[in-house]
């Protein structure tokens, strides 16, 4: 049962010369199956491993998970789209597939340019100072060294890691988890992305930072980008996204204006 609200936000979407909305991400009936390692769930003794080698069977502790079961939607330029759903509903999986990090087993995902995925555990080099991490992160996003030199101070200001003393010159391993997450977001947000995928990355900051980052997400959208936001904080989805997609058990439940989708989702979550 899929409900569609096709009068979704026209006002904010950027149009091409022909007056048509420009798609940035097209997901066409995507199925994603990935294999998970169950860890030490059994069959991990040396004898069992040898037997597997001899019999040429796959490790028994690998299980296939059909995480996304045929999702289709189109995202346009200038849209901010929230992705909501219970844990394990396939939100993060679909983001990783859009970023090109997971293959689709059936169907296809088309993207404009290279989407960037921003997750909470995007590790940089913990032994290096925040400043050096800024330079490295920017270079890794393909910036020119001159551009990096221009932006570095702004990125550190934005992250607010220097609010309590000079942390930027300390190694990142000395940062609190919130500080590290803020710095990572600031680095990723320094570049103009065609498509930015944010996976719970805004949840870690404090209130002041959350305000700043929500503002930054709006700016990125106005710069003709598309932003996807996965979050369990419905308020943050409500504040930044005008369109929301609700996934449940790998199936698209609802796609439409944020208010309506969140209302339906809340009713569903409360009735469980």
């Amino acid at each position: 049962m899929v409900e569609h609200f096709e009068d979704s936000p026209q006002a904010t979407a950027t149009l091409d010369p022909a007056g048509e909305r420009i798609p940035t991400v097209v997901v066409d009936d995507a199925h994603i199956i990935y294999r998970v390692h169950q860890g030490a769930a059994g069959g991990t003794t040396p004898v069992a491993a040898l037997r597997r080698l001899v019999k040429r069977t796959n490790a028994p502790n690998v299980r296939e998970v059909h995480a996304v079961k045929g999702i289709s939607f189109t995202a346009y330029r200038g849209e901010a789209i929230g992705l909501i759903g219970s844990n394990g509903s396939g939100k993060s999986t679909i983001l990783r597939a859009i970023a090109g990090l997971l293959p689709v087993n059936r169907g296809a995902i088309y993207t404009q340019g290279q989407p960037s995925l921003l997750g909470v555990n995007a590790a940089l080099l913990n032994d290096l100072s925040g400043e050096r991490n800024v330079v490295l992160g920017c270079l890794a996003m393909g910036m020119h060294p001159d551009e990096v030199a221009q932006q570095a101070a702004g990125i550190i200001d934005f992250s607010g890691i220097n609010e309590r003393g000079d942390f930027a010159s300390l190694p990142m391993r000395t940062y609190s988890s919130g500080m590290a997450a803020r710095l990572r977001f600031s680095i990723a947000a320094a570049k103009r992305h065609d498509v930015l995928l944010i996976d719970e990355a805004l949840a870690t900051g404090d209130k002041g930072f959350r305000k700043r980052s929500e503002q930054r997400v709006r700016e990125l959208r106005e710069g003709a980008g598309t932003v996807f936001l996965v979050s369990h904080q419905l308020s943050s989805v409500r504040d930044t996204c005008e369109r929301t997609i609700w996934l449940e058990s790998g199936v698209l439940r609802m796609d439409g204006p944020t208010d309506e989708v969140i209302r339906a989702y809340e009713a569903y979550a409360n009735s469980k």
């Binding site: 899929v2 569609h4 096709e6 091409d16 048509e20 909305r21 420009i22 798609p23 940035t24 991400v25 097209v26 997901v27 066409d28 009936d29 990935y34 294999r35 045929g70 289709s72 939607f73 189109t74 990783r96 597939a97 859009i98 970023a99 090109g100 990090l101 997971l102 293959p103 296809a108 995902i109 088309y110 993207t111 404009q112 290279q114 989407p115 960037s116 995925l117 921003l118 997750g119 555990n121 995007a122 590790a123 940089l124 080099l125 032994d127 290096l128 050096r132 330079v135 490295l136 992160g137 270079l139 890794a140 996003m141 393909g142 020119h144 060294p145 190694p171 990572r184 990723a188 698209l252």
Partner: protein, 297 residues
């Protein structure tokens, strides 16, 4: 599954047609080899910065810091000299200490590059999953970090060679192309093991044994004249061992009377250049073919 979802309401196109009309590309598609090389070139600043950062980070917890870059090869040389020069005294080689350290440092360049390269994908998964960049930058910067380490050990080596009474000759300049050939060879091998190590994490456990075997087959610790006792085909095999070739090149350049397995210098240079070319191009293509797999799973 609602089939209506496949048709765009405004234009009446299917999703695939819509994507094609606006020039969208399949997510995570592998670029062509030429395009990939071009992107890699655009990332040269990143490779240099990352190599540097790794070098700094590797000593960040040590009190003596960067000094270890020189101390590590020195200590290594001292230990091997104690065993192979004093305890097992082999007097047949003139200037054994210089002979030994040359082989040791040259081999160590490849050894540490390959060891680090095996993990260059798996130890950077966080970055790979977060940012999009040509993945070959990682193994290449690993090679570059080791190259910088090599330069430090070369300073130590030249000190040892001079202290043991070898004369400075114009031939020493040939050390530069010899090391560059080895660096290209290493980059190729590192690209190869990086892709293999990304899939099979067991490789990390096996690699030290492979490398040790390789070391014994490269005449690092003893006189290469020992290889003459092998049957003919095995000697030929050892002669074409790339590591032996690079070590012999360095020994030929720096030392006056080092025993060499390869008599012909031209052959040494040709084999050295050939290996660099084969490994460099082969490793690059092999790594590129796996580009879209890194960080998945």
């Amino acid at each position: 599954m609602a089939t209506t979802a496949l048709v765009d309401p405004e234009t009446g196109l299917t999703q695939a047609q819509l994507a094609a009309r606006h020039g969208l590309r399949v997510a995570g598609e592998r670029p062509s080899l030429a395009e990939y090389s071009r992107r890699l070139w655009a990332y040269r600043h990143f490779i240099a910065a990352y190599a540097n950062a790794k070098l700094v980070a590797s000593y960040s917890n040590a009190k003596l810091g960067q000094l270890w870059q020189v101390l590590t090869p020195l200590t290594n040389a001292a230990v091997y000299y104690l065993i192979f020069g004093v305890v097992l005294a082999q007097n047949s080689i003139p200037n054994f200490i210089a002979y030994l350290t040359t082989g040791l440092f040259i081999f160590n360049f490849t050894q540490s590059a390959v060891l680090a390269g095996t993990q260059s994908i798996s130890s950077n998964l966080g970055m790979i999953r977060a940012l999009h960049f040509p993945r070959a930058t990682l193994p290449l910067s690993t090679t570059m970090t080791q190259f910088q380490q090599l330069l430090a050990s070369m300073v130590v080596l030249i000190g040892i060679v001079l202290a043991t009474g070898e004369p400075i000759t114009l031939e020493w300049l040939l050390l530069v192309p010899a090391l560059l050939l080895q660096a290209v060879f290493n980059a190729g091998v590192v690209l190869l093991v990086a892709r293999m190590g990304a899939k099979a994490s067991d490789l990390k456990q096996v690699m030290p044994f492979i490398l040790r075997t390789w070391m014994y087959g490269s005449g690092v610790l003893y006189s290469v004249s020992l290889f003459d006792r092998l049957p003919g085909w095995a000697t030929t095999l050892v002669q074409f061992n790339p590591m032996l070739v690079y070590i012999e090149l360095a020994r030929y350049v720096l030392l006056e009377q080092a025993p060499l397995l390869n008599e012909s210098l031209t052959q040494l240079w040709l084999v050295g250049a050939g290996w660099a070319l084969v490994a460099g191009i082969g490793g690059f293509i092999y790594f590129w073919r796996g580009e879209q797999e890194y960080g998945r799973g």
